[in-house]
């Protein structure tokens, strides 16, 4: 029964992911901003994992098949996603000299996982990647009043929280919340309702005061 619930949440997550990709591609067609394409590629990678998760919940397919040592397919996919996430971060931060770092770190963690049966390095890597990316994106998004950056930051933060706890109910639910936050970011929600335009507000206030003065 729980599996069915997870499947419903996963399908909702997948649909929202598709909606996010469609929105970013639509916006990219208008302003040709390369960041939007990078976001679409990242979300597409996230959705590949989602398709497998849906198969897991629908057909009770076991993703934790051991490849060698303590390394499972699920963990390999996790490493690939974190690699893409870090690459995406370095691309946004314009740090081309660090492009090889995520690949090398993931490779060594994979080797380490084969040699030692401990999930701690993976969890620490996931936390650093998610919280580091979230911190940078939310800080930068606030400074530049960029809703998409805030959305991505919240996505990484909430997704990272889910990965940290390693409890399936929390992981699946927080992933959905993360995708909602991202979807809102791509649709301009934060610009509209969170970043209130001070100048515009003052103009409106000024108009009202002027009207009141005229009436009096």
């Amino acid at each position: 029964m729980a599996e069915f619930g997870f499947l419903i949440v996963e399908i909702a997550y997948f649909i929202m992911g598709i909606m996010t990709i469609l929105t970013t591609i639509k916006q990219w067609k208008m302003n040709k901003n390369r960041m939007l394409i990078a976001v679409s590629v990242y979300i597409a990678a996230v959705l590949v994992r989602s398709i497998i998760d849906m198969a897991v919940y629908a057909f009770s397919f076991d993703i934790d098949i051991q490849v060698t040592g303590s390394l499972t397919i699920g963990m390999i996919m996790g490493f690939i996603l974190f690699t893409i996430q870090l690459e995406f971060m370095f691309y946004l931060m314009n740090l081309p000299k660090l492009y090889t770092l995520p690949v090398i770190v993931s490779t060594y963690l994979l080797i380490g996982r084969i040699l030692v049966d401990s999930a701690m390095p993976f969890i620490i890597y996931a936390m650093i990647t998610s919280y580091g990316s979230a911190f940078f994106l939310i800080k930068d998004g606030r400074k530049s009043r960029n809703g998409l950056a805030i959305g991505m930051g919240l996505f990484f933060l909430i997704w990272g929280l889910g990965s940290t706890f390693q409890i399936e109910v929390l992981f699946v639910s927080l992933r959905l919340v993360a995708m909602v936050a991202l979807l809102l970011g791509t649709r301009g929600f934060y610009e509209k309702y969170i970043f209130v335009n001070v100048e515009e507000e003052q103009k409106i206030m000024g108009t009202w005061i002027a009207k009141l003065v005229v009436k009096e």
Partner: protein, 217 residues
């Protein structure tokens, strides 16, 4: 008997030359680097990498000199130094670092931004993996691969960008790695003497086969 004495003599000359020439070359390169930084206000990446290569090599030859000639030698120092690439020890760490810096030099000289620190990340990761898991099987193949790749790309870079520094390092790497790979007393002895000569000529600025350079001054 006479052959042994001859070989021992050649090796000792090599050790003594190395311990004088390489630190001297490091000081000369370091001074040039600082002078350039003072006059231009910017650190020349290529010169800085060459300096770190020589600095690492200086430390290695001084330690090797102390151990080989038994001027100062303790079992602990000998154990830490190791002297082979089969496992992590001071010798393999410094040789690995030099090979990684060689690859870094190639990436910087060719302006391959995304590869700038790749070799250092890879080597650093290998050290961390060893610290946490005791796994070192990648070390020896990496050093041979990085050494060979550095030599090939340094020659290519030297001729492509007409860079005297890259060409000197290519010759130096060829001789230095040659002595590591072909561990034959006669080759090692003469190899060490020749690369000391090359380094000395380069550091005093006499080695300039390319009159007009594009990368280094």
């Amino acid at each position: 008997m006479a052959e042994d004495l001859f070989l021992q003599g050649v090796q000792n000359i090599g050790y003594i030359l190395s311990v004088i020439v390489i630190p001297l070359a490091t000081i000369i390169i370091g001074r040039t680097l600082l002078k350039e930084k003072k006059s231009t206000g910017k650190l020349n990446d290529i010169r800085a990498i060459i300096f770190f290569i020589f600095f690492s090599f200086s430390n290695l030859v001084i330690l090797e000199f102390l151990i080989q000639l038994q001027i100062y030698s303790s079992s602990l120092l000998g154990e830490l130094f190791g002297g082979s690439l089969d496992g992590f020890n001071i010798y393999s760490l410094v040789i690995g670092l030099i090979a990684s810096l060689g690859l870094m030099l190639v990436a910087v000289a060719n302006r391959w931004d995304f590869l700038h620190y790749a070799s250092l990340f890879f080597f650093g990761g290998m050290i961390l993996l060893y610290v946490f898991t005791g796994f070192y099987a990648l070390l020896e193949p990496y050093i041979y691969f990085a050494g060979a790749a550095s030599i090939v790309f340094l020659y290519l870079t030297a001729f492509r960008v007409k860079d005297n520094g890259a060409l000197t390092l290519a010759i130096f790497f060829t001789l230095a790695f040659g002595t590591v790979i072909f561990d034959v007393a006669l080759i090692t002895g003469f190899g060490v003497i020749i690369y000391n000569g090359v380094i000395l000529i380069f550091s005093v600025g006499w080695f300039k086969p390319f009159k007009q350079q594009e990368v280094m001054a």
